[in-house]
């Protein structure tokens, strides 16, 4: 059963959030095809038998005819028109499936939603009961119910309907819980919105989409289940017939008159296919991630040719860098700066300033869909505008990212990840690599490095993960480390520790650091020089000292400095 995954991802930074419209239905081809197909089948199966009343049941002497002009699918043993029979059967199947789906959905959603509001004991018990119920094959449950109630169409509808309730209830209860915990529901509770209004105004509309997707699934599976049970004889009994029964009737003759099963086969496939397409279409329409799958393929980043290498003593040289989207919109609009040897350069800006993109362009790690161009883009004596061997990249440049919670692979141990570059690109053996990283972990003041290497990321605190990240960056002895908001997700005391680590790197080694942050206070304290970016442009370049003394020229820089609340008023301007 297709099921939308209600994943909890880490909080995106202010920069990464997309301010999209709430997922209003986005049409896509699958959805349209599904709806058209379904409607067509439903309409035809409803109207044609009404027009041509007797064709399906009328016995005639034209028995066992192959397809012809007057009987498009031929006739059966009793001379009845197969196409007409298929249509009648479809109508019955549709009606029964609708009934069963209605039972599953209405009771499932009711139970699932009510559970969320029940007292804790009852809720825990009900949820556990539902888990157990879901683990039984629903077809088996339906068979059992049919056994109890006896064979027949309405019994079948009831059986399939009931067997579909647990999975619907589970989904409804999960959704209700998720939506209920959202802030706007909490605040609505606090202003005193009564429970009933809460459910109609806030809960159900926000649960609607994933529910609709599931409803389409339930319908498709209900159809299959009902016809399967009719097929085995537990459902519709002769002289009535639905699609399953019709297929069962045609089965014995499969050797001699194989086409007799054609009608029911085609109809059942059409209907369940259309239901599935609708379900998937709804799911794709609602999930913005799946939207990007249909975007046109990103071109490989296009780099402008090198205009001549600058021979200055800078380690990193960026000249007229632009980063553009496929539409041509520029996110970084031609900036130039350099990073000298053994220096920490800070890059400060708010969201949308392009600071991260600049660094990623330099590292050849732009996300898909963006391309970079520059007159020069150089780290040491490698031009980052062309292809650079992986080995060189990995050992010249190391990266440290913002959110230590999601930076490491949750399925692998730290040791395996931290030594990746050492083993793959520097060719060290596993033992030697482990030795090296242990030594480095000690140098970044991890108290029990052995244990850290054997742990998985989720077992460690944020501060430790960030230190481990720093250690893995240092151990390859790179010329440049790019740190993208490395302390933003950390507590202030841990941040201070990590900043001290960076300072030590600056003092003890010759590695340069490109330090990106939105926090001007941090950058003032740590960096030697700072560049300020706004809306893709480089606004000003200053030394940290100038920042501290507020000797800045550009009004935006001044605004940033003024806007940041300070602990110590005495510091500024007077020393």
């Amino acid at each position: 059963m297709t099921k939308t995954v209600l994943e909890k991802t880490s909080e995106p930074t202010v920069e990464q959030r997309e301010t999209q419209a709430p997922s209003n239905l986005r049409w896509n081809p699958g959805l349209v095809v599904g709806i058209v197909l379904f409607t067509a089948v439903a309409v035809v199966s409803w109207t044609v038998p009404l027009i041509n009343v007797d064709a399906a049941s009328q016995l005639s002497k034209d028995t066992n005819l192959p397809p012809s002009g007057s009987h498009w699918l031929g006739t059966d043993l009793f001379g009845r028109d197969m196409l007409a029979r298929a249509l009648v059967a479809t109508k019955l199947s549709l009606v029964m499936t609708l009934g069963a789906t209605a039972i599953s959905v209405i009771f499932g959603v009711l139970i699932g939603t009510t559970i969320r509001f029940a007292p804790t004991r009852l809720r825990e018990f009900s949820l556990r009961a539902i888990e157990i119920a879901v683990s039984y094959p629903s077809l088996l449950v339906a068979v059992v119910i049919a056994a109890v109630l006896g064979a027949g169409p309405w019994q079948l509808v009831l059986a399939i309907g009931l067997s579909g309730i647990p999975s619907m209830a589970r989904l409804a209860s999960t959704l209700a819980a998720t939506v209920y915990e959202r802030d706007y529901v909490t605040t609505a509770r606090l202003v005193g919105v009564p429970k009933r209004s809460m459910i109609w105004r806030h809960l159900l509309p926000n649960m609607a989409e994933p529910l609709l997707v599931q409803i389409a699934s339930v319908f498709a599976f209900g159809l299959i289940a009902i016809s399967a049970l009719s097929f085995v004889g537990l459902g519709v009994q002769t002289p009535d017939y639905d699609l399953g029964r019709l297929l069962a009737d045609g089965l014995p003759a499969i050797y001699t008159r194989p086409l007799e099963i054609a009608g029911s086969t085609v109809m059942i496939v059409l209907v369940s296919l259309s239901a599935m397409l609708i379900g998937d279409g709804l799911a794709a329409g609602a999930d913005p991630r799946l939207q990007s799958l249909s975007r046109a393929a990103a071109k490989k980043p296009a780099y402008a040719p090198v205009a001549g290498i600058d021979e200055s003593s800078s380690l990193v040289s960026v000249c007229n860098l632009t980063v553009s989207k496929q539409s041509g919109e520029q996110l970084v609009k031609g900036i130039s700066f350099e990073v000298r040897r053994n220096e920490i350069l800070g890059v400060v800006g708010e969201s949308g300033s392009g600071k991260s993109l600049t660094a990623m362009a330099l590292a050849q790690l732009l996300p898909e869909g963006l391309s970079a161009a520059a007159d020069e883009l150089r780290i040491a004596d490698h031009s980052m505008l062309g292809a650079v061997p992986n080995r060189t990249l990995a050992t010249t440049l190391a990266l440290i990212y913002q959110d230590p919670g999601t930076t490491f692979n949750p399925a692998l141990r730290m040791g395996s990840q931290l030594t990746e570059v050492l083993r793959v690109h520097r060719g060290f053996s596993a033992t030697k690599a482990r030795q090296l990283i242990l030594a480095m972990l000690e140098r970044v003041r991890i108290t029990d490095p052995q244990r850290l290497l054997d742990s998985r990321p989720h077992e460690l605190s944020g501060g430790m993960r960030q230190r481990a990240m720093i250690a893995s960056a240092l151990v390859v002895n790179p010329a440049l480390i790019i740190a993208d908001e490395p302390t933003t997700a950390l507590d202030v005391t841990v941040q201070a520790e990590i900043l001290r680590e960076f300072k030590r790197i600056r003092l003890e080694r010759t590695t340069s650091l490109l330090f990106i942050s939105h926090d001007i206070g941090v950058v003032e304290a740590l960096c030697d020089r700072v560049i300020i970016m706004k809306d893709g442009e480089l606004v000003e370049e200053v030394t940290a000292d100038q920042l501290r003394k507020k000797h800045v020229k550009h009004p935006y820089t001044r605004m940033l400095l003024d806007a940041v609340p300070r602990l110590d008023e005495r510091e500024r301007g007077e020393k």
């Binding site: 059963m1 297709t2 995954v5 880490s10 699958g30 157990i132 683990s135 039984y136 094959p137 077809l139 088996l140 068979v143 059992v144 049919a146 109630l149 006896g150 999975s167 498709a220 299959i224 399967a228 049970l229 097929f231 085995v232 004889g233 537990l234 399953g244 499969i254 099963i261 086969t265 496939v269 369940s272 296919l273 397409l277 799958l293 249909s294 975007r295 046109a296 393929a297 990103a298 790690l365 869909g369 992986n390 990266l399 990212y401 999601t406 930076t407 490491f408 692979n409 949750p410 399925a411 692998l412 990746e420 793959v424 690109h425 003041r445 991890i446 029990d448 244990r451 460690l460 520790e497």
Partner: protein
């Protein structure tokens, strides 16, 4: 004021970072595997208990007099009484339940009227056929769907090769929409009637060949459904931050997919696939009929039509347990792959 913080940690000045803090709260000294095994074992036991109660209630819930239905059309009053005594229906409810459970522990599942043989014999002679078919299909599904979905996911990531995405999308939608018994019928038509390469039904001595078509019929819908999930999960996993970190380490693409992406995608896939795989058991019911496969699915259909209640009870119980075992198997695989589940 130099108070110690509430949990006893000493908050001193100018100290380095707070001590190594494990964020998981596993009980010390107990291996995570044991607690996991206990938890899951409890789940299976609970399923068993519920199944026993439910199957017992089947007979009780039947409207009308079960003895009458069981005795058959032409039974006279005396025969009906006899059947009532045989089924123990005259006893109070608790006694019946106690007898039922007692019988279960002895391995006695009652006697089937339609077969005139002990239910346990009928059930356990059929069990290997259904279990074999189910487990074989499970393996086929996982072995085919996961690599398929993953490769399509990789080749179509970020909008590459939209034609591949469409073909995959529509064909998997199509095949997962076809009911297993319809597919079975069509397979018989194509391979047994027209091409005559595979047998259309089970016959002793021809097991391997006869296994092919039922297995295919049973697996295809699940393969399609799971391959779709895998493909979507691959896309999701590839966008995660830890994949970006791996790219920063300039790991080769193959290594990235196999070492970094695969374990994470398997986790969600298996979680979502549980329901699908259980649905396969339900599909067995109709597929077995098409192929005359002497398994539990076929058995229960016959039992229901004959109203052979002891047999129905026995088969439902065993099928339910089979389902629970399948789920357990999937969960164990999950726990091996993803240690977070164990914690």
């Amino acid at each position: 004021m130099n108070r110690r913080a509430a949990n006893g940690a000493d908050v001193t000045t100018g100290a380095s970072a707070p001590p190594l803090q494990k964020t998981t709260s596993s009980s010390p000294g107990r291996s995570p595997w044991i607690s996991y095994a206990l938890k899951r074992g409890g789940g299976v036991a609970a399923t068993f208990v519920v199944a026993v109660i439910m199957t017992f209630l089947i007979v009780q819930l039947i409207p009308g007099d079960p003895a009458v239905s069981a005795a058959g059309q032409n039974a006279n009053a005396e025969r009906i009484e006899q059947v009532r005594q045989e089924l123990g229906l005259a006893d109070p409810l608790w006694t019946q339940f106690a007898n039922y459970v007692g019988g279960l522990f002895r391995g006695d599942l009652g006697t089937s009227f339609s077969l005139n043989a002990p239910v346990s014999q009928a059930v356990f002679s059929r069990l290997p056929f259904t279990a074999g078919l189910a487990f074989l299909s499970l393996i086929v599904v996982l072995v085919v769907a996961v690599p398929l979905g993953m490769m399509v996911g990789i080749f179509t990531r970020n909008g590459r090769r939209p034609w591949l995405g469409s073909i995959f999308g529509y064909s998997t939608a199509f095949f997962s929409a076809v009911p297993a018994y319809v597919l079975a019928t069509v397979l018989v038509l194509v391979f047994s009637v027209w091409l005559r390469v595979l047998p259309p039904a089970y016959s002793p001595g021809n097991l391997a060949a006869a296994l092919v078509l039922p297995c295919v019929a049973l697996s295809i819908a699940s393969i399609c459904a799971i391959a779709r999930i895998v493909r979507r999960e691959t896309a999701v996993v590839l966008e995660q931050d830890y994949m970006r970190t791996a790219r920063g380490w300039r790991v080769s693409p193959l290594r990235m997919y196999m070492k970094y992406a695969l374990p994470n995608l398997l986790t969600t896939t298996l979680t979502l696939s549980g329901i699908i795989l259980i649905g396969m058991l339900g599909g067995a019911i109709s597929v077995e009929l098409v192929f005359n496969w002497p398994g539990l699915g076929f058995g229960i259909v016959k039992a229901v039509s004959m109203k052979d209640y002891p047999l129905i009870q026995g088969i439902v119980l065993v099928l339910a347990m089979l389902g629970a075992l399948l789920t357990l198997l999937v969960d164990v695989i999950l726990a091996i792959i993803d240690p977070r589940i164990r914690a």
